[in-house]
């Protein structure tokens, strides 16, 4: 698609490594040249990571963040998928409920913190609630969209074979909508990860987000700050890759044939 020749196999590994190395070099030398006393160099970040691992701090924080995501995201799936399927199934209900969702959706989950604290107190629970809230909307949207884009012939075929409405939903509509639902889940998981980190920076005192803020506040340990940020990025990426692997299952792969 571009003006140059087709890249070879080895280039698939070479270029990313090259770019990463270039970035690291740029980072390293900028720190040197600007003579900054505070901003960490790549080496000090690496040392910071090792330090955190040895102190077992990192594992505990990672565990806390993942746990909150699991609970909040899991709860969102349980509530949002049936609701989304129902709204997609019944356009009249969707027309009534949708405006409410559209007003609630742009409210940053972080803005819900004061309200969340009223209901849930401090600690884990408000964070889990925020993750739930943030994951809820993309899942509902994806389910509604998935259901309404089921080809009408498939619905008719299902009815033709004598399926009652609940059976139709289970055996035709849901499998047909599943690829889109999975895309929604993947997006929601990405958002959940962003939100849990943000929530931990404000309302909780454990987890990767808290680690970022705390490292700065107690001693301006920017090496730990950047180390924590890298861990957040890597784990977020790992989460995305794992949920993408579900897309390879045979019974949904048909919906992703053209996905990159």
């Amino acid at each position: 698609m571009n003006s140059l020749a087709k890249p070879r196999m080895w280039e698939r590994f070479f270029w990313p490594v090259f770019a990463a190395a270039a970035l690291l070099a740029l980072w390293h030398y900028s720190v040197r040249w600007t003579g900054t006393k505070v901003f960490p160099s790549p080496l000090s970040v690496e040392k910071g990571i090792v330090q955190l691992f040895h102190k077992h701090l990192l594992w505990a924080d990672i565990g806390d963040s993942l746990r909150r995501v699991a609970l909040g995201f899991g709860a969102a799936v349980i509530v949002a998928v049936p609701l989304g399927l129902f709204l997609g199934w019944s356009p009249t209900t969707n027309q009534v409920v949708n405006p409410v969702l559209q007003i609630l959706r742009p409210i940053s989950p972080i803005a819900w913190i004061p309200v969340a604290i009223i209901f849930f107190g401090v600690g884990d629970h408000p964070a889990i609630f925020l993750v739930f809230l943030a994951s809820f909307f993309p899942i509902v949207v994806a389910c509604v969209s998935g259901v309404s884009s089921v080809p009408p012939n498939l619905r008719s075929a299902g009815r033709n074979f004598g399926l009652s409405a609940p059976r139709l939903l289970m055996r035709v509509i849901f499998p047909a909508a599943l690829p889109q639902i999975l895309v929604g889940l993947r997006i929601a998981l990405g958002i959940a990860w962003l939100v849990v980190v943000a929530a931990e920076m404000i309302a909780v005192d454990s987890g990767l987000g808290y680690l970022v803020i705390d490292s700065r506040n107690s001693g301006k340990r920017y090496d730990l700050v950047v180390a924590a940020m890298l861990m957040i990025g890597i784990i977020g990426l790992a989460l995305d890759i794992s949920i993408r692997s579900i897309e390879r299952f045979k019974s949904v792969r048909w919906g992703f044939r053209n996905a990159s």
Partner: protein
């Protein structure tokens, strides 16, 4: 019912399907569009009837009403004396495209309507119809691995597997290329010879109608009424260059109002 009984079900006697004063109107009041007007038809058991007509005349609507997907505005559709009031697995519709379930394998699709059978019966039925439509070797393939023609064959197999009284086909070969279409016609005919069902086949292809049908129903343009019914009195296998074939074909073309000289 044993498999043998299922296959040889039709005994070719009497009336299967009856349309009486069928009216169909879309919309209401000032915006209403009459689509079908006073359609009357009788189809015998085991007959192969083609429905042709100009584009947009309401052929598909007629089929959908007969299958029970659309309620008629007036008149009745009766099958075996029973009035049609909704979709039913005794009369299966084969769609032009996007009719197979993409998340199920070939076996899964064919077995879709067989949930009430025992495991062994299901297996037998599926195997039989895989053979019947010549999809052996593809039992575990997914529709995304199949060609257009194969997907249509899959739909036919899935439809036949539930042992319907009537098979409705809505321009089933319309999305296929010419060569595949010709091959599929042969396949459908072969299957029909073995598993005699009543078939109603909508097509815009005149040749297809003359090649396959016992009778051809010609619909007028909208609002559609039955303009004429031609009986194709040629024995199978039909030679598409025989004088009688050409005669019937020309007659149909004339009915539709198409010039047959270019």
């Amino acid at each position: 019912m044993s498999l043998a009984e299922v296959i040889t079900k039709s005994s070719g006697d009497g009336q299967k399907l009856k349309l009486e004063h069928l009216h169909m109107v879309y919309g209401q009041g000032a915006e209403s569009v009459p689509v079908l007007e006073d359609v009357n038809l009788e189809v015998s058991d085991g007959e192969f009837v083609c429905i042709v007509g100009p584009s947009g005349c309401g052929k598909s609507t007629l089929l959908n009403v007969m299958a029970g997907f659309l309620p008629a505005t007036g008149g009745t559709v009766t099958i075996d004396g029973e009035v049609v009031s909704g979709p039913d697995s005794r009369r299966i519709l084969v769609f032009q495209e996007r009719g197979v379930f993409p998340w199920l394998t070939v076996e899964g699709n064919i077995g879709f309507g067989l949930a009430k059978l025992s495991r062994e019966e299901r297996r037998q039925r599926i195997a039989h119809y895989v053979q019947a439509v010549r999809l052996q070797g593809f039992e575990h393939a997914y529709p995304s691995d199949l060609s257009g023609g194969m997907k249509q064959r899959l739909q036919v197999a899935r439809a036949l597997a539930v042992n319907p009284d009537i098979l409705y086909l809505d321009e089933p070969f319309g999305a296929l290329d010419f060569v595949t279409r010709v091959i599929m016609r042969g396949e459908l005919h072969r299957i029909w010879q073995t598993e005699r069902r009543t078939i109603l086949f909508v097509t815009h292809d005149i040749d297809e109608a003359v090649q396959l049908a016992d009778r051809v129903v010609v619909l007028s343009s909208r609002p559609a009424r039955i303009q004429d019914i031609l009986t194709i009195d040629i024995h199978h296998p039909r030679n598409i260059s025989s004088p009688r074939y050409l005669e019937l074909r020309d007659e149909l073309l004339k009915q539709i109002g198409l010039a047959y000289e270019i």
